[in-house]
Amino acid sequence: MNVTFTVNGEVQTVDISGPESLLSVLRNNLDLPGTKDACEQGECGSCTVTLDGEAVCSCLVMAADAQGTIVTTVEGLSSDDSLHPVQVAMLDAGAVQCGFCTPGIVVAGAHLLDENPHPTEVEIREALSGNICRCTGYGAILRAFEKLSAEES
């Protein structure tokens, strides 16, 4: 079956035959490997995308069910000439080590700031509680978002 949805502003149609996840389609069919597959169980957040305005785990979205939806991946947050403020803040804070969790955190964090431009520390932590990082211990990531939170929108 053909499934058509919008990814990073572009309409895409893919041929789906089974229950494969949106994550799998993004990575394997649409050449968007930025979204990661660290657990494929919804337990790590590395596959976070926004879908119809919500931050969700793309490993838990059946691609066939994404018909007509609007999806943004990490690749959609930056352009050729500029990075999203969340991406800049993460780099400045030293919040990227191996970077495998980074796309998920960038998407979830950007979504948080869209909904709540000035979150407190506990709000940042709770909003990102679905994103596991094994390298940084979360400190630098927290500092990145606290800095963004303190900035005027």
Binding site: L91, V96, G130, N131
Partner: protein, 749 residues
């Protein structure tokens, strides 16, 4: 020559220079090995043993071969060269040789047109087993001589006696490195019978050695390339899918990709050794250590991997960062049918630091002495002999310095808010503020730097000046820790220019950089880059009659005498170095000798809020003071300290692979729990810069220290909160509750 950041160099040593791979990583463009892809590639899959110990009585691959889209199905019979591989000892079959010795041991591999077909085909292979009893008790295995190594350390007077004696038995669980990036391999045939391999690794040269032996191929016909890696922490130090993906590619003549999903990853790499440790500490009335006796049993699982070295590390740090003239240690690492164990950040020192720091607290109690005062009194310093090996400490070792520095960090304020996110149990709303008791605990840890016991440990680097800038060539593995940045910074400072790029060479282009482990790369690859940069600088200055090298050329008396273009007129100029650390030696039959290349020390302090009735813990703060030698990149250091603390915290309160009869019961992120953002404590860090006796600018490796003494500090804090000694990690709620009946719940103050 300048040792500080040269005038004009903005991002040299001592700055928090940005990592060069940061932009691709934040924008989703970084090529991890698991992201590599090509149009016509095949996918690989693995069939594994469902038993911890079993004899394979029938293996029939025809159902898999018969499936449409399947291009190869291989078993141990198809291994062209050495049937066994292994880093220290070649004892593990590439594929099951007729006996499965651990749950999940690979039996057969499949290459197919797509991932699903490969998995289905692997599942369709017929394997019949005769289950055998698994040997899952490391003590029983040791009693029967099934050990990878036994060690004996005897120093001083075995008969010495202290007037104050404390004994304890301690256990640490099996911890998993759980890097977010999965095992991944990408094999590309070169059309000449050879392969280019891109594999998640910590040491491509040692992988390469094993791969060519098993494939019976010439060294240059297989090139192992550094590939993008999502974390390692020891899990990538040993072979996982390397030989498999290479075999499939050779058998099919096609590009093959192989990636483990999370559950397979749990099975597919080595773990931290679980340990059982019995200790007796004896001191005089003033608190001076008189004798430490210990018996250690580590469970190495089915194959040797790096167990010999892990045991040595554990044994040599049995006493910790303290002087003691009489030491008796008997240690063994057993061979069982449990999941194979190997390297994980801390490498044996984690386990014995837990045991010995718990002991030091018990000793302090018995002496009615402040736990920090006891540690200061016995602290190891340069010039002292290491308690276990007798090696005289060279270089820096600010043991008292790190204790003082961490103690001086202001404690966090008492809990005043009712926000559940700040209480044990979090939004689970389990715990009223009135039920909380706060505790504080300290621990000190010591670790060796680089490889030991006479291992020929070296790192190669080649630094090249081109017209466009400096290239640093290395085969070292960047696993996220920031080695890439440090290499740039070192070259920048020495060569007087910011224009430095790191180029990852494969195994055919440069010699080994050694392992990304043992906290060694900053000193080893960094040391090689430093010396190669110095060599290049000296040569350019000499060749052009100058006295200084700057961003735009060679200078004499502050006047430029040669431009970069002129220098490179005849082509790029390079200098290559193979860097070695001070020599180490095998210990004698009593464990004595100059076993280690250097040492690093750290102290941690933990503050925890405990709900004693439910046995729940919130780790409020973990502070640390770290011996760094020289801070080459302060922000990167903080990242290592904070990240390592989180892994130490995981072992302290939540991480445990539950193994029953050799079978892992929780091989998923659902049930192998690592700390999330709402579990993470705040962290304050202090660094002590006392230059070491080798390595670039006196810098020390700091990657492992943060996971070593963080665990016992947290346990000591819980113990302080509930007034009870604890003996195992992760601390189960039951161990905390045990005292609840007699504990008067103190109002939180």
């Amino acid at each position: 020559m300048t040792t500080d950041t040269s005038a004009g160099v903005r991002s040299g040593i001592g700055t928090s220079a940005r990592r060069p791979d940061g932009e691709p990583k934040v924008s989703g463009n970084f090529a991890y090995a698991s992201d590599l892809s090509s149009e016509d590639m095949l996918w690989g899959a693995t069939r594994r043993s469902p038993h911890a110990h079993a004899r394979m009585v029938n293996l029939d691959i025809t159902p898999a071969l018969a499936m449409s889209g399947v291009r190869a199905v291989l078993t141990q019979n198809d291994v062209p060269g050495e049937p066994l591989f292994g880093q220290e000892e070649q004892d593990q079959p590439v594929l099951c040789d007729g006996i499965a010795r651990y749950w999940g041991e690979p039996v057969a591999i499949v290459a197919a047109d797509d991932e699903e077909t490969a998995r289905r085909a692997a599942a369709a292979i017929i394997v019949e087993w005769e289950p055998l009893d698994p040997l899952d008790d490391p003590d029983e295995a040791a009693d029967h001589g099934k050990v990878f190594r036994e060690m004996r350390i005897r120093r001083g007077d075995e008969e010495a006696v202290g007037s104050v004696v404390v004994e304890g038995f301690y256990e640490t669980a099996t911890q998993d490195q759980a890097p977010l990036g999965p095992e991944a391999g990408f094999a590309i045939p070169d059309g000449l019978g050879g392969l280019d391999l891109y594999i998640t690794s910590q040491w491509i040269h040692v992988d390469h050695r094993q791969i060519i032996a098993c494939l019976d191929m010439e060294p240059d016909s297989i090139r192992c390339h550094p590939a993008g890696i999502g974390g390692a922490f020891g899990s990538r130090e040993d072979i996982s899918l390397h030989i498999h993906v290479a075999m499939l590619s050779l058998a099919t003549g096609r590009v093959v990709k192989m990636v483990y999903d999370r559950s397979e990853s749990f099975v597919g790499h080595v773990k931290r050794h679980p340990a059982r440790m019995w200790y007796r500490h004896e001191a005089d009335e003033d608190g001076n250590l008189v004798k430490v006796t210990a018996r250690l049993v580590f469970d190495g699982g089915a194959y040797a991997h790096t167990s010999r070295a892990v045991l040595a590390n554990a044994a040599f740090f049995t006493v910790g960062a303290y002087r003691c003239d009489n030491v008796v240690v008997d240690a063994a690492v057993s061979q069982t049918n449990n999941p194979p164990c190997g390297a994980m950040r801390g490498f044996g020192a984690v386990q014995t630091c837990f045991g010995s720091e718990m002991q030091m607290d018990r000793l302090a109690q018995a002496l009615d002495m402040d736990p920090l005062e006891l540690r200061r009194r016995n602290a190891l310093a340069p010039g002292d002999p290491m308690a276990t090996s007798g090696q005289i400490i060279q270089g820096s070792l600010p043991t008292i310095g790190v204790i003082d520095a961490v103690e001086a960090i202001p404690l966090p304020l008492p809990l005043t808010e009712d926000d559940p996110r700040l209480l044990p149990g979090g939004t689970g709303l389990t715990t009223p503020k009135s039920a909380v008791v706060r505790g504080v605990g300290y621990a000190v840890g010591i670790k060796n730097l680089a490889f030991s016991e006479g291992f020929d440990d070296f790192a190669e680097a080649r630094v090249i000046m081109t017209a466009a800038g400096i290239e640093v060539h290395t085969a070292a593995m960047e696993v996220g820790q920031g080695l890439v940045t440090v290499c740039q910074q070192i070259a920048r400072t020495v060569l007087g220019t910011d224009r430095v790029a790191v180029v990852w060479d494969d195994t055919s282009q440069i010699g080994s950089a050694g392992s990304t482990s043992a906290s060694r790369q900053t000193q080893m690859t960094g040391g090689a880059v430093y010396e190669a940069s110095i060599g290049l600088r000296d040569r350019l200055i000499a060749d052009h009659g100058g006295d200084d090298l700057r961003d735009d050329g060679v200078y004499r008396n502050s006047e430029r005498v040669a431009t970069i273009a002129e220098i490179c007129a005849g082509g790029p100029i390079e200098h290559h170095v193979q860097f070695r650390h001070p020599e180490t030696f095998e210990p004698d039959e009593n464990g004595q000798g100059d076993v280690h290349a250097g040492f690093v020390v750290a102290a941690h302090r933990a503050v925890v809020d405990v709900d004693p009735e439910l046995g729940l813990v919130r780790v409020v703060r973990v502070d640390t003071a770290q011996d760094v030698g020289r801070a080459l990149n302060p922000q990167a250091i903080t990242g290592q300290l904070e990240g390592g603390i989180m892994q130490g915290m995981g072992l302290a309160v939540m991480e445990q692979l539950v193994v029953d009869g050799g079978v892992i019961k929780n091989p998923t992120f659902t049930d192998y729990l690592i700390p999330t953002f709402v579990d993470a404590p705040d962290v304050e860090t202090r660094i002590i810069e006392e230059g070491d006796h080798w390595g670039p600018f006196g810098a020390k490796g700091i990657g492992e220290s943060p996971t070593i003494s963080s665990t016992p500090a947290i346990v000591a804090a819980i113990s302080n909160a509930i007034g009870k000694n604890l003996t195992r990690v992760p601390v189960p709620p039951e161990d905390i509750i045990g005292n609840a009946a007699t504990l008067k719940a103190s109002p939180h103050s």
